[in-house]
Amino acid sequence: MHLMLIPGLFMVFVFSYIPMAGLVIAFQNFVPAKGLFGDQVWVGLGNFRFLMSLPNATNVLKNTVVIALWKMVLGIFVPITVALMLNELASLRYKKLIQTVIYFPHFLSWIILGSVLIDILSPSTGIVNRLLGVLGMEHIFFLGDNQYFRGTMIISDVWKNFGYGTIVYLAAITSIDQTLYEAAAIDGAGRLRQTWHITLPGMRMIIALMMVLSMGNVLNAGFDQIFNMYSPAVYETGDILDTMIYRMGLENAQFGAAAASGMLKSIISLFFISISYWVADKWFDYRLF
């Protein structure tokens, strides 16, 4: 069996581990012209200190974590619910249709979706606000108001990606032994109880897994999305780590600081994954390894 692992190990080693040597860039004042192995100046933790000293650094970090956490929670909860709902559908064709369609938004890039959303959410001409007006409510400037910006980002992101999670959960549901349901029905359990006692536990493993995996994304609050829809008016609640770094031009000219921020994100992700691994173990009785 160990032999079977060799191709995988080899590829990962070559393409993921060897480049890790480049992590040293995070500790250098990197000048591209000098070359990767050239005579770069070492600054130790200087890049990290620089990142922390940027104005709004703490605010940005807070925004990143809050937005990412909400996206994670809803990103698990919503697809599970939808998968369960789909499971209840009697008509196979309808089910297939819905499954196909809800996956669609995943394919559109945020560049496009961003401008579409800007249109839909416009306080004057957007459909949503017109609807609010019909219902007698005041118009809301979703993308320009600090109160609503975060919520808008979270909801739109969940909407775009829930199709993806739903597929995974549906695949899990179909692997559940159907005879269990029959047995439960014979015992007189209603659909709701069946769901609670059979379906959900049957998905337990996958749910735990998705949770642990998404923990690794805690600092990826969604650069593409926010970048295409934010503006200085909502930096206070909407500016995340990646957008700030992008504006600082760090990605392009200051490789050292960019590498430092990448490393920072990795360390924090590691931390969070360890926590969720522990949680999954204790509460779901689930071990990843």
């Binding site: 040597a21 809800i102 938004p105 579409v116 179909t174």
Partner: protein, 300 residues
């Protein structure tokens, strides 16, 4: 199956209401997912000036197929399309083989596979830590892969996220089947191919879909590793058209570019054509999700 359905319908009116509400909610959800597409589709069929004025919502205005005609004649677009198809097929094949090979041992218990934790952590860490752009670039160059299709397919040969998903699906295969096969004298490879693979069709379909989508949508690797404009994969190629322009860099002589960029119908057309193939694959793989898999019973 049909008998069961009839039984359910006979049960409470509460159940009926639930089913109806369920259906409606899902319908609403579904509509919301398809509307942006309809918008983009409408724009691709509309005349440029109406689009610029923001007058096109769900129905085309000034209907014409000029953008599509233009696109069909664009060699560069089809060239990029072909490259992405090749890359997707090749890449997914490599992904799947590696995933299956690697997930099988890792799904066994600790006793069966010595050092399982070590192996798993080895893979898992790469999800969190990465060397970054520059070392990868230099490495790919050193390996002589630059400007070849292998630079798009090899670096991501084993996507760890999907690997972990597969491991979990494999774990759910009942241990009795494996034991029965081993008694019959089957080696691991045979067990994998003859037992695990057929039983995990849902999982394999899911994961191949994910891999395909990843390859289809990838643009960054095409950007940094490809040297010639004729070797760009589709999404990288499309970026040129879709990106918004930085006004501060514009000069009067760029007006040709301004005309192009403001031609949203051409953009929309390219978007639609780029998305269609994946949308077509999906229904094929669908049936593996919906079909129930009977795991009960151990084969003799």
């Amino acid at each position: 199956m049909k008998e069961r359905k009839k039984e359910k319908i006979k049960t409470s009116p509460a159940r009926k209401i639930f089913c109806v509400c369920n259906g409606i909610l899902l319908a609403v959800l579904m509509t919301s997912c398809i509307l942006p597409f309809i918008h983009v589709l409408a724009v691709s069929f509309s005349d440029k000036v109406y689009v610029q004025a923001g007058l096109v919502v769900f129905l085309p205005k000034g209907f014409n197929v000029r953008s599509y005609q233009y696109l069909i004649n664009k060699i560069a677009f089809w060239r990029a399309f072909r490259i992405t198809v090749v890359r997707t097929v090749l890449g997914t094949a490599i992904n799947l083989s590696l995933i299956l090979l690697t997930a099988y041992p890792l799904s066994k218990s600790k006793e069966k596979l010595i050092g399982r934790s070590v192996y798993t952590w080895f893979f898992f860490i790469t999800m969190l830590v990465s060397g970054g752009l520059i070392p990868s670039f230099v490495l790919v160059g050193q390996l002589g892969l630059r400007n070849t299709i292998w630079s798009l397919v090899l670096p991501g040969a084993l996507p760890v996220f999907n690997l972990v998903l597969m491991i979990n699906f494999f774990r759910q295969v009942p241990i009795e089947m494996e034991e029965a096969a081993m008694i019959d004298g089957a080696g691991h490879f045979k067990i994998l191919t003859k037992i695990y693979v057929p039983l995990s069709k849902a999982a394999i379909a899911t994961i191949s879909l994910f891999c395909m989508v990843n390859h289809w949508n990838a643009w960054f690797d095409g950007m940094i590793y490809m040297k010639s404009a004729t070797k760009l994969p589709l999404q990288t190629y499309l970026r040129n058209i879709i990106l918004k322009m930085d006004m501060s860099q514009m000069t009067g002589d760029d007006y040709g570019l301004l005309q192009m960029l403001s031609n949203e119908s051409i953009r929309s057309t390219q978007i639609i054509v780029a998305v269609i193939p994946v949308l077509c694959i999906y229904p094929f793989l669908q049936k593996y999700f919906v079909k129930g898999i009977v795991l009960g019973g151990v084969k003799g």
